[in-house]
């Protein structure tokens, strides 16, 4: 049986500052080595200053993943030398001397399957290495410490996965959950990284390190299973080793360094006293936690009668559910949900498009209300939405500028209906005996008005004129 376990690193990108200093957690907009200070550079004499918000957010993640949360947490030093590590040790957490990480064991359901969480730990991200030079011989390594000290949560699972598909489903659930909690933006480059360990029946465990995105994680696991199976089928034994994911070639490569032999000499970080996370704190955090995805979904279904599939799409994407929450009323909820999941999705399907979208919840509310009151037809609403996403203009302006409004003026509609009646004598005759045919005539009116005739008024006028 194939067994896959994951170690997922998620930056807490929504925090203001780094884990142990006041430099920005969002290091991405800075010139290299400008988002740094004596603390995150590990200068002599500097001391870590624990970001309490990071502890709270990490605890929230642990609670959201149904993990146990200890009364007191501690930090440890993981000692090793690497150029991206300013102090040559990393401040992290572990559970070998008792349960002192922010999260202990927990369970998360992926469909019917239980995935066991081993632990969740809060730690600092190292800096970033940038390699320059054409060949290995004249390669130089540049270090950018802007990232050093960024708060990172490591989520470790048991080897409960049996195939890449389960891995992907889990990752989808996890990244939706982290986004919904408002702790992380998984779409940011480098915000989600992972290590995986993979073993097939009769083979040793192989660890794959350095996988830079969730997308690649699934690929890496798939590649590794295939590699191991092909070795196995040729009776070549699978050695226990650490491999690296080469994200350019999309393959795993054996690491020359013996990382598994490293002795990290873990010991308690004396500069950070134990942090008590008592019952009261947990209660408070629980009350501050955003509604879970599953509870949102249930609410959408039961309160607004939104179809399950639509409710699922809406609730699992924080961008959509936030829009929905702010735009909907009891009356227009279904219409708002409908607009988001049918028309809006295609317009904001990437991070960049979302960032540049000018659409505000009040726009959505107006569009939905206008559809319901017959001011605008669905097809026109779609065009209006496109325009608003692009420009952020008021709906009324867009309607008049693009002439999208419904024709509801009775005399104007009467004229059009007259011409349809004269053009379709046969259908008019039929309609007198067969009420269904009247819809055909409404369609003709719509054709002439490019879909903008108010359907209710048109129907009433038609009925009057025919009888």
């Amino acid at each position: 049986m194939t067994k896959i376990g994951l170690e997922i690193h998620s930056q807490l990108t929504k925090l203001e500052s780094k884990l142990f200093c006041s430099c920005k957690a969002n290091y991405r907009d800075f010139e290299p080595n400008t988002n740094i200070c004596p603390v995150c550079m590990g200068l002599p004499g500097s001391l870590p200053r624990l970001n309490q918000k990071a502890v709270e957010k990490a605890t929230m993640i642990a609670m959201a993943l149904n993990c146990s949360t200890p009364e007191k947490i501690a930090f440890f030093r993981k000692n090793y030398f690497y150029p991206d590590l300013p102090k040559n040790f990393q401040i992290t957490q572990l559970n070998i001397y008792g349960d002192t990480s922010v999260g202990g064991t927990g369970i998360i359901l992926v469909g019917e399957k239980k995935i066991h969480i081993t632990r969740i730990q809060l730690e600092e991200d190292p800096g970033r290495l940038i390699y320059e030079g054409s060949s290995e011989k004249n390669q130089i390594t540049l270090v950018d410490y802007n990232r050093a000290g960024t708060p990172l949560v490591e989520i470790v699972t048991e080897p409960d996965f049996e195939n890449p598909k389960e891995v992907r489903e889990f990752l989808n659930i996890l990244s939706d959950l982290l986004e919904n909690l408002g702790v992380s933006d998984p779409s940011l480059e480098g915000a989600m990284r992972a290590d995986a360990n993979v073993s097939i029946e009769g083979g040793n465990k192989v660890e794959i390190k350095n996988i830079g995105s969730f997308h690649d994680l699934e690929k890496a696991v798939h590649f590794e299973i295939t590699r191991q199976q092909s070795l196995h089928s040729r009776d070549i034994s699978i050695i226990q080793e650490t491999r690296h994911w080469d994200d350019k070639r999309k393959i795993t490569i054996s690491s020359r360094s013996k990382e598994e032999d490293l002795d990290y000499r873990y010991f308690l970080e004396g500069d950070i006293p134990w942090v008590r996370i008592g019952k009261e704190v947990k209660e408070k955090l629980k009350s501050e936690m955003p509604e879970s995805i599953s509870s949102k979904k249930q609410r959408y279904i039961s309160k607004y009668d939104i179809p399950a599939q639509v409710a699922y799409v809406l609730s699992s994407d924080k961008f959509y559910s936030d829009l929905f929450e702010d735009a909907h009323t009891k009356e227009n909820a279904k219409e708002v949900a409908n607009i988001i999941t049918t028309d809006l999705m295609g317009l904001v399907d990437t991070r960049e498009k979302r960032a540049s979208s000018k659409l505000k919840p009040f726009h959505l509310k107006e569009i939905a209300d206008s559809i319901q009151s017959g001011k605008i037809a669905r097809t026109s609403a779609k065009n209006a939405l496109y325009e608003i996403v692009k420009t952020g203009k008021e709906l009324s302006d867009v309607i008049s500028e693009l002439d999208l409004g419904n024709v509801s003026d009775e005399s104007e509609l009467s004229q059009i209906i007259e011409s349809v009646i004269s053009e379709e004598p046969q259908a008019v005759e039929q309609a007198k005996s067969n009420p269904q045919t009247i819809n055909y005539l409404v369609g003709k009116v719509m054709q002439k008005t490019k879909g903008k005739a108010d359907p209710n008024i048109t129907l009433n006028l038609l009925k009057k004129k025919i009888q």
Binding site: P44, N79, G270, D271, I272
Partner: protein, 481 residues
């Protein structure tokens, strides 16, 4: 003008207009120039000290707001960061490290108009008890320059003792303030762990060390403590002292206080003159109304071993950052692979630092941690329990600060184990986080002897009151320089 005055006397004299700060600082700098070639307390001097003094005089004349130090000349151990100033830790590794920020204690003293006359010598990275392990050469004991001044804050003690400043800040990891204070006949104080911010103190063994003042009198120590103690958002291990005024009621005396004499600290290997000084101190305390009784803390036997297991582990980690990549000395990286560069760069570290870092790699390593490091932590917690129990019965504990007299320069440098054992009386306060003070008590054959008092955590005020009471019974000759 007399520069041989206490810190409190200095502030009174400046306030009353008896002396000008400029004159005092100029005279102090002159004293440094006269004696320091011989004593070698200083690693670097503040060339602007006299200018700064003049500014303070101007401020006083114009009636401006003046901080409580009134331009007091203070020396700073060279492992405490002063912005834009070289902070070498007496190591070649940090030969060119210029601190880009102030330690919290420095910020606080600057706000009080202190003048830092210079950075003073120490054993490299504060590892040692004689300053012989300074990469820039040893300091010498002003009482007899053939002898060590103690360490690691040797430069601090020498500078206070030889009137090269009025007060000094050192750091105490296993006795590094108290030991040189004892050897040079000054007051040396290690506060309750967390009472003084360590932000800007270059870590050696961060879980047990503290910055502490070295002064001429106990009152001066209380004065310094008032200025630098308290919670610091930059040091998560600091504790709230509710703005305690340590000078207030310092004359309270020790009548009725119970004092435990730690048996394990006056036993085997103690110099007879040290023992008799200790006995004399005990009878003086009894004369002041204290009740003294012997007590056994048998974990003290293991304290030095535990101390070295813990400090070397932390040192191995704390000093790992000195890979010379981000700061340090001039040594280009071209042509080196990462690990081989570090290996080569770290050759600048001195023998004692290398010894402790090798131990620090071994003691907590897989397969040995249980035998050494974790066992040391057990000793630490048992010792803490024992001393806490002792404080249920006693208000204070007493011992000689160091069981022996100052030794000659070069006498013990090749016997690390013998040097380690000299820490036996001082490491307990560090391992248990308790406040401890050494006060000058006697002179034997021209060499100083200090007495140590230890109090329970956050009883620093009581400790200073008792030390002050004992100090008043002592009359010592002036240092022969």
């Amino acid at each position: 003008m007399n520069i041989k005055i206490s810190a409190l006397q200095f502030t009174r004299d400046v306030k009353s207009g008896n002396i000008s700060v400029e004159d005092f600082i100029a005279k102090t700098m002159e004293q440094i120039h006269n004696v320091d070639d011989n004593l070698h307390a200083f690693l670097s001097l503040n060339e602007k000290a006299v200018d700064q003094a003049r500014e303070i005089d101007k401020k006083i004349k114009s009636g401006g707001k003046i901080g409580q130090c009134f331009g007091m000349p203070i020396s700073i151990k060279d492992n405490i960061c002063i912005k834009d100033t070289k902070t070498t830790c007496a190591s070649k590794m940090l030969e060119n490290f210029i601190a880009p920020y102030d330690a919290t204690v420095i910020t606080k003293l600057k706000q009080q108009d202190a003048i830092f006359v210079g950075k003073v010598n120490l054993d490299e990275f504060a590892m040692g008890i004689s300053t012989e392990f300074s990469a820039y050469g040893p300091s010498k004991n002003p009482w007899n320059t053939d002898y060590v001044p103690g360490g690691s804050s040797g430069g601090s003690a020498v500078s206070v003792s030889a009137f090269e400043c009025v007060a000094s800040l050192g750091s105490d990891t296993g006795g590094s303030v108290r030991n040189p204070a004892s050897f040079c006949s000054t007051v040396g104080y290690k506060p309750t762990y967390g009472l003084i911010s360590r932000y800007g103190l270059i870590s050696y063994a961060n879980s047990i060390e503290q910055i502490g003042p070295l002064t001429r009198t106990v009152e001066d120590t209380a004065f310094m403590l008032n200025l630098i103690a308290g919670v610091d958002p930059n040091d998560n291990t600091t504790v709230d002292n509710n703005n305690e005024d340590y000078l207030k009621d310092i004359d309270s005396g020790i009548e009725g206080k119970k004092i435990g004499i730690i048996k394990e600290m006056i036993g085997e290997g103690i110099d007879p003159s040290v023992l008799s000084a200790t006995k004399n101190a005990i009878s003086k305390l009894e004369g002041l109304g204290a009740i003294c009784e012997e007590i056994s803390l048998d974990m003290v036997k293991y304290s030095v071993a535990a101390y070295y297991a813990i400090t070397t582990t932390e040192a191995g980690s704390n000093l790992a950052r000195y890979d010379n990549l981000r700061y340090g000395y001039d040594f280009p990286v071209d042509g080196y692979e990462f690990n081989s560069y570090i290996e080569k760069a770290r050759k600048k570290l001195g023998p004692e630092v290398i010894r402790r870092m090798i131990l620090g790699g071994f003691v907590p390593s897989a397969g040995y941690a249980g035998k050494y490091f974790l066992k040391a932590l057990k000793v630490k917690s048992k010792l803490t329990r024992q001393i806490n129990d002792a404080f249920k019965k006693f208000d204070l504990l007493i011992s000689p600060t160091v069981p022996i007299l100052p030794f000659k320069i070069g006498e013990k440098i090749n016997d690390p184990a013998a040097l380690f054992l000299i820490d036996i009386n001082t490491v307990t306060a560090n391992l248990t986080g308790k406040p401890a003070i050494s006060i000058p008590y006697a002179i034997s054959n021209g060499l100083p002897i200090g007495i140590q008092l230890i109090a329970n955590s956050m009883n620093d005020k009581l400790l200073l009151q008792a030390a002050h009471a004992l100090e008043k019974t002592v009359k010592l000759p002036e240092v022969p320089i």
